[in-house]
């Protein structure tokens, strides 16, 4: 049985200073406190700078004794993160987890992992090899993936307009809404749905 009272407190605590910390957590699915969605901003001076990375968080029944299950939803090019499915190789999400840690500290650790990869303990062998053998190319690829997958604004506006119009919203309203939310397709959809 997940300790929901603790999870509630964790959410409040984490989101309190999200603008400073660069990490935040939201409910992923209605009221279900065992399925959350984390967000981390790419660390400055890393190839992930400027990106926003979405993390799927599932809390197992034994939480906080068992570690949260975290996985990147946003595609990312990093030695310790699978380029295929976003699986993460990080000790605190496995045997080094402790109830003394929190979802926030786990997300901050992921952010730190983006800054300092550990290619000797890889999740994605291909990326790790590239990191070790051809660092400049690694940086280029990681930056390219960040631009392509982690920056919402980088997807063409026309593409977003077309997608939302296909969902049945009037084009004028779609353009106006996209403008208000700064080009974020998901936020626009949310706003359009709630009227």
């Amino acid at each position: 049985m997940v300790d929901y009272a603790r999870v509630q407190k964790e959410l409040v605590e984490c989101n309190r200073d999200k603008d400073i910390s660069g990490v935040s957590i939201e409910l992923d699915n209605g009221d279900d406190l065992s399925h959350l969605s984390g967000r981390i901003t790419g660390p400055i001076a890393s190839p992930y700078e400027g990106g926003i990375f979405q993390i799927d968080i599932r809390l197992p029944g034994g939480y906080p004794f068992e570690p949260p299950k975290m996985q990147f939803i946003t595609k990312v090019w990093h030695p310790n993160i699978s380029s295929q499915n976003g699986a993460i190789c990080l000790d605190i999400l496995k045997d080094q987890w402790s109830p003394a840690l929190t979802l926030k500290t786990a997300l901050l650790s992921l952010q730190a992992l983006l800054s300092s990869p550990e290619p000797d303990d890889p999740q994605d062998a291909v990326v790790a090899q590239q990191y070790l053998r051809d660092y400049p190319t690694f940086v280029g690829t990681a930056r390219y993936w960040t631009d392509t997958f982690a920056k919402r604004a980088s997807v063409g506006t026309e593409e977003k307009v077309q997608k939302l119009v296909e969902m049945g919203f009037p084009e004028v309203l779609v353009r106006k809404t996209l403008d208000i939310v700064g080009g974020d397709e998901n936020l626009a959809l949310e706003k359009l749905c709630t009227g």
């Binding site: 068992e66 570690p67 999400l93 987890w97 109830p99 890889p122 062998a125 690829t141």
Partner: protein
């Protein structure tokens, strides 16, 4: 470098990056059988399976067994061990085993201490340890731990402490203490409480513990607490025992059962008393407080059990 050249170089770089990306996308789909592609939850699953297998062999805290049960284990073993068990038999009558899941020291401490309070009904001792627990809470707050990470564990320990004192509605029997010690939802919480207390004490007196930790593991104090104290299942060493004994002000005796012997051929069982010291004096020196051990643990390399005196 002229501007045109720069543009040309940039173009070239862009091109090569795009090529690499394509190659990378293709190659990342091979090597599926590689160990590195196992996901976290798969690793955890295997870890849990191993734990479940252990659980079948022994509960967190076992039954009291006569010391002869220990002797039986070494029937065809080392003569030095056999000799030492005989010597132990002069002072001790029984052993209570704990599960070898890396939490055995804390589990021993939990049961032995609560059993001691249950049997002694020592109100003064309960009041004394409560004050220490309060101090430990302050230590964690000062170290910057979020309250919600530790408050439940503290509350659960204090609850057990209350309930072994008789004469209240919530009072429990010896049998119930054993049942609770075997119930994960109580037992693991108390173990975690001790881990918090231990970690807080080690960090609070980082300067004192640093040389021991460096000798053990070549880690910083901070890293040691994160990696070897706070996660469940991490085994305890001298540092853990010293810190817990000091923080809670509880003296612990450990008997060492190993194959070491003197050159003269005479065999004796080594022991060590962990006597709590108080380090609140301004110059940071520690003063040992004379205290009689309230529990005796049996150490065999990698594991702790509880011993009962005659």
């Amino acid at each position: 470098m002229g501007n045109n050249e720069k543009v040309a170089v940039a173009e070239e770089e862009k091109k090569s990056v795009n090529e690499v990306v394509e190659v990378a996308i293709e190659t990342s789909y091979v090597d599926n059988d590689d160990w590195a592609t196992y996901r976290d939850d798969e690793v955890m699953q295997q870890h849990n399976a191993i734990q479940a297998e252990e659980a079948h062999k022994l509960p967190f805290v076992g039954d009291k067994e006569p010391l002869s049960a220990l002797a039986a284990e070494y029937q065809s073993g080392s003569p030095i061990i056999q000799e030492k068990i005989k010597l132990l038999g002069q002072s001790f009558s029984a052993i209570r085993r704990t599960r070898g899941d890396g939490n055995c020291f804390f589990r021993c401490f939990m049961f032995a201490y609560l059993e001691h309070i249950l049997e002694s009904q020592d109100k003064a001792e309960v009041d004394r340890i409560k004050a220490n627990v309060e101090q430990c809470k302050k230590t964690l707050q000062n170290l910057g731990y979020a309250e919600f990470t530790f408050e439940d564990f503290f509350a659960l320990f204090l609850e057990q402490l209350e309930s072994v004192m008789q004469g209240n509605e919530t009072s429990i029997s010896h049998d119930e203490l054993l049942t609770r010690s075997r119930d994960q939802s109580v037992s693991d919480y108390v173990v975690m409480f001790f881990r918090f207390v231990t970690s807080g004490e080690v960090r609070r007196r980082a300067e004192f513990f640093e040389p021991f930790i460096l000798g053990l593991s070549n880690m910083t104090v901070e890293k040691f607490c994160k990696a070897s104290v706070e996660p469940m299942g991490e085994e305890s060493d001298h540092v853990h025992i010293t810190a817990l004994s000091d923080a809670l002000g509880v003296a612990i005796r450990v008997m060492y059962l190993d194959r070491s012997s003197c050159d003269t051929g005479s065999v004796s069982v080594n022991h060590h008393d962990f006597v709590p010291s108080i380090s609140d004096s301004p110059n940071g020196t520690t003063n040992a407080v004379a205290a009689k051990p309230v529990m005796t643990l049996l150490y065999r390399p990698g594991h702790y059990d509880i011993l009962y005196s005659k």
